[in-house]
Symmetry: C2
Subunit: 448 residues, 2 copies
Amino acid sequence: MKIAIIGGVAAGTSAAAKASRTNPEAEIVIFEQGSDISYAGCGLPYYISGVTETKDKLIMNTAGEFKEKYGVEVKLKHTVTAINPGQKTIDYQDLTNSTTGSYSYDKLIISTGASPIKPPLPGIDLENIFTLRSVANAEKIKAMLKTADTSKVVIIGAGLIGLEMAEAFSKLGLKVTVVEMQEQVLPQFSSEMAALLEKHLKDQGVDLILGDGVDHFMGSGSVEKVFTAEGKEIAADLVLLSIGIKANSQLAETAGIELGASGAIAVDEKLATNLADIYAAGDCAESLDLLIDKPVWVPLGSTANKQGRVAGENAAGGDSVHKGIIKTSITKIFDLTAARTGLTQEEAKSAGIETAAVKIKAPNHASYYPGREEIHLRGIFNQQTGVIVGAEVIGGAGTDKRIDVLVTAISQQLTANDLFQLDLAYAPPYSGPKDAVAILGMVAEKKL
Amino acid sequence: MKIAIIGGVAAGTSAAAKASRTNPEAEIVIFEQGSDISYAGCGLPYYISGVTETKDKLIMNTAGEFKEKYGVEVKLKHTVTAINPGQKTIDYQDLTNSTTGSYSYDKLIISTGASPIKPPLPGIDLENIFTLRSVANAEKIKAMLKTADTSKVVIIGAGLIGLEMAEAFSKLGLKVTVVEMQEQVLPQFSSEMAALLEKHLKDQGVDLILGDGVDHFMGSGSVEKVFTAEGKEIAADLVLLSIGIKANSQLAETAGIELGASGAIAVDEKLATNLADIYAAGDCAESLDLLIDKPVWVPLGSTANKQGRVAGENAAGGDSVHKGIIKTSITKIFDLTAARTGLTQEEAKSAGIETAAVKIKAPNHASYYPGREEIHLRGIFNQQTGVIVGAEVIGGAGTDKRIDVLVTAISQQLTANDLFQLDLAYAPPYSGPKDAVAILGMVAEKKL
């Protein structure tokens, strides 16, 4: 059996590893257009800031190691130019020497990822305007910081990457301005929770320009100024574009593979596409939103890893499913952790669920134990049933714990009272006798 | 309405506060035989080690503050000598002046707690043999450490308190020996997981004597030596007895209140006893084990707080339940966190469930982010259904998160595959792309 995998980052390498374990006899080939496989995209901000010291640490396996561990052949700098589902072949080009070739597969896994959106603004092609998606991107940014006299950075877009990079650049001593078209940072959060982050960013010296977009860039050769739609002019030695990403689904679409409304590849829970023997996984594919039973596109490393594993197992003859997601995300922004999961009030309303939002503040652990920090929790509860359908948690140490408990609770449709009843672990260094999650449940129960 | 509460620590003060909010008109009186209310018993080891600097920090509310906040009268140094359910009165003695009195109640809440077991061993009444249950106990130990030349401590019993105190005494520069009758520390853990703790304790310089009990103590006035059943002789300037506690249920039993098989007070989910208008809550009362649907006695601060709240609400005319527990516990022992929840393999077997244990080791977060630590997880899975029924987690930072996710998962009878599917929050500082809990699920699924 021959398994071809297009793209060798999170989903592609997970798929290859699992396929190899499922069917050690299979011939598995990864076609990766870049020069690295299995790098940790989520680690790029930490590599730039120096928190992660070397590039090697970000690369889980080199092509050679991958071959040795899993018996998988990795063709680096090979771009796949066409999928031919009728012949069950893919056409590729070797970017090193421009030769082309064709590979015939029994099963194909598409894990082509996603690419940063680069809007066609005047000046967008000036030097020192970067995106951040690959190790190569990060190397370019690091090289510039090392060689050029860089002091002012403008980040366009206040999503996860934008804010993680605001921290990274600030830690390097740069003056950071973040420009965001929406009226708040992290649009997946409610405005009242986002306000906590905005205050924290400002306290850390980051300038925030909200509700304003970029109109154009100016500079001679290199970018020097960013002009916003509202007429603001911001000096910039370096610009990071982080307004969003789009699924790399065109190759699939051209081959007749169905895309979802999001523009990413439509898959079922086995990660199968509409065409026989072709799977898709990772940032190029949709997932099922388990709470509204509809496909959504939320490209994240955790989902890519799960989907890759499931696609790999199924391609190799196994039987596995990825049931779906509830849109959990988490990020560290300076001293705060910001996490969310489940439905927003607006999404719940669209799904016909009337909700009440309950916001509390609770300590991460006992008051008399050192290192107490505050955690803000906001739960979205179904008003009729008391079931929790969404949550946001922002705060210090222990924020990640509370979101993961709430992820599990929301997945299981627990009610406010159920949150109170949970027999969560208590000792002074870990929580109060009533955990923050239990307090959220108690307050919600009273309000509902 | 008059509500009397016997005992004013965790459950009693929770009950009083909730009763007062439920029915602000009620006359609520707490009878507490000690000289403090609402102190954090779980914080005593940290007070002794100095991590918690002052006694005040351990006391959530003084009697005066409690009166002011909740309108609840607190009678300190008042011991209740009898409950008269027929007359609906309690008899008490004021320990300050030995006067006695009687109080008539409409509703009564018994929250008399538990007391350390002090076995009738030869020499047990020597000076400098302590138990640790109250602020007064802690003050005595601190006073001795301050005034006497203390360098060698022997702790009898390697349960939660025993091991927390091993850390506390070690941090104070004392040489600590722990003597435990069972063949392992923390008997609620499996022997393979307990071995991780035993190694860590030894690495920290703690001497462990397992599978051996105390035969007698010797000394002139003060304890000087501990002799074990196996004939070992251990020099000791101070002995801490932490072999266990027993429910303070005799007052209730004498009044005709039913006890459970454990010797603690039997209650229903409303925390009602067998006698009308009498509730019990906290360390003197049983709980329902939700996994085997049988009453058990697992006295812990988290349960005491919940039960107190529920008993208080019900006594004041509300309608609330405490559904039960799954025997979760957690403790910090030097640099390790040790936590457990649910059934052991032996308990599952007694309940007719054949299980398989699955043990893995996973990092707390991404390898390239600083501060990576190892976490050991051991799950107990129902062999027929794949449902997880119990778990132990021991390791560094993030251990508390994994146990709380597993608590939630076990409460909801999730399967191994469900653990893999959970959309847990991923970013490099918080987990790997596959969280430790997901990995446990994956490995279990393969094994089952």
